[in-house]
Amino acid sequence: MPRSQLELLVLYQDIHLMLQEAEEEKIQFGFSVDGIDELKQAQEELAKNIDDRFLRTYERLKTRYRRAIAPVKNNICLGCFAKLPTSYSTKHHNEQMIFTCEHCGRMLYWIE
């Protein structure tokens, strides 16, 4: 199970996408997706482990963008393609901290 607040949020976001694509997977490819309600419930359970202030930021960003968390590669926010300040480098990160892009406001997830 992921431990950091950011990883929990990433999982939370990826479950949203999973739910969105469920119907398509069923209709196009015949996958069984009978567990939609169960998955929604699991997502709610997951949310209980996420700090309220992060969830609020996430929900606020979701009203503006399709995805609230953007991947970062080569120090570029892939949500808006702005270069991030070098002070954002991953070595300053800790488990319970979340950085946001100063240009678009999205929460940032480093993937390099």
Binding site: L11, D14, M18, Q28, L39
Partner: protein, 154 residues
């Protein structure tokens, strides 16, 4: 416009496991992830594993007749990857027909995949394993080259 997908392009030797050793759903998912972990293309193994497990909550990707196609999109990976694994003894994967699974296609892709190949790739794999002759040969494939030859013939 239809994107034409050549599935062989995604089937790499380093992402082929000819003999899966694990024997439960969760442990085999972890085993299938290992080639990607070793290649350094996964950001967080525990996160990807948990995402795959959540996908199984939605419905078993054990689609029957000895085949499973575990798949998900995850932010913890930056390209589309397929891992193929074969289990001679078969794994109790809670497949929809309750039969043991012998052949696994693990598919992972980022949510924002630019070329939108994820669903077409998923569809192509489903199409390949629907063919009972190909399915049976694939389950018996002894190595990477045999697997590729079977799929190329399709």
């Amino acid at each position: 416009m239809m994107t034409s997908i050549n599935i062989v392009d995604f089937l790499k030797e380093e992402f082929f496991i000819s003999r899966l050793e694990e024997n439960s759903k969760e442990t085999v998912l972890k085993e299938l992830l290992q080639p990607l972990v070793h290649a350094g293309v996964i950001n967080s193994e525990s996160l990807v594993l948990e995402t795959l497990i959540k996908r199984e909550t939605l419905g078993s990707t054990g689609i029957g007749k000895g085949i499973a196609i575990p798949h998900c999109r995850t932010l913890a990976i930056s390209n589309l990857y397929i891992v193929v694994g074969i289990s001679t003894k078969g794994i109790d994967y809670q497949a929809i027909d309750r039969k043991h699974v012998h052949l696994f296609f693990l598919i992972l892709a980022p949510p924002n995949e630019e070329e939108s190949r994820y669903l077409p790739v998923l569809g192509k794999i489903v199409e390949i394993v629907r063919n009972s002759k190909i399915r049976r040969s694939l389950i018996k494939a002894k190595d990477y080259t045999s697997m590729i030859n079977i799929i190329k013939k399709e």
